[in-house]
Assembly symmetry: C2
Homo-oligomer: 165 residues x 2
């Protein structure tokens, strides 16, 4: 099971429990709130990379989401304890391309996957800026380690209606 | 200005004001909440198509979001009065492919655009189902009218780091 093995090797960057304010009348996580959850996972990654509140103040930097794609694979119920795993798909001087996947805590079935392009921004401007050295030093080994992992099938996907048979 | 003309011709399906619970410490709409806003716009489209609460009860149908792509183009501030415009990109017996664009009310500058694939679902199962006749009768003329409009540049986009020069 190479997929399960590689997914298990990915670092968990965020854990939470699905609260009642995020679900619809069926008790399922609403589509929009998956992205709120993934946004919190990006905040957690920023913390890990040294861009917590103190780091943002020291560098004057933050990250902006330029673009995102999400595939909803399974329903997520109120009260579910979930985790978000990170795969760094690409990195340059000022951008990172990430895959974030949602699992039950310790689970093996991906419930949703988002691919996002994030830009490092100097909040004076605001304008794009190269990563601060300490942030780059955190991200570069992660990108190198993740480069050899298989990419989830949904990455780079173009959505379209199925062709008539 | 053909783009502005065609955007102005698109129906507005949802209007709201950006509340304080959706913004970050800079007073800007957080990335995840754009998708919550677009989710409400899909709810509003369901209402227009006859799948309001009574219609959902009568048909047993609802719509599930399978997949979405979003491009963040401009910051949106707390207190902004915004509207979501709809372009139906495609329609088959049980799926609709939509573009939803976010503007200031009456504005001409697109602030974010999402492309989504939605599936009609019979909640008994749940399993995919053909649209109820009245719903199809609402969607088909809209799809026909929108088929000749130019598609936004972001539709079908595959995200990637820029190639080094």
């Amino acid at each position: 099971m190479p997929e399960a093995t590689s997914a298990a090797a990915l670092p968990v960057v965020y854990r939470c429990t699905i609260g009642p304010e995020w679900v619809d009348f069926n008790g399922h996580l609403r589509d929009g709130y998956y992205m709120v959850l993934f946004s919190s996972a990006v905040d957690a990654l920023m913390d890990l990379a040294g861009l917590d509140e103190a780091g943002r103040k020291a560098t004057g930097h933050s990250w902006f989401t330029l673009e995102a794609h999400v595939n909803y694979l399974h329903e997520v119920k109120q009260g579910a304890a979930v985790e978000v795993r990170l795969q760094l798909l690409g990195l340059d001087a000022k951008r990172l391309h990430v895959a974030l996947s949602l699992y039950a805590q310790g689970g093996t079935e991906c419930m949703a996957l988002t691919e996002q392009m994030l830009l490092n921004v100097d909040m004076v401007g605001p304008r794009s800026a190269v990563f601060a050295p300490a942030v780059a030093a955190y991200l570069q080994p992660l990108a190198a380690a993740h480069a050899s992992l298989p990419r989830p099938a949904q990455i780079g996907r173009v959505m379209a209606l199925p062709q008539p048979k």
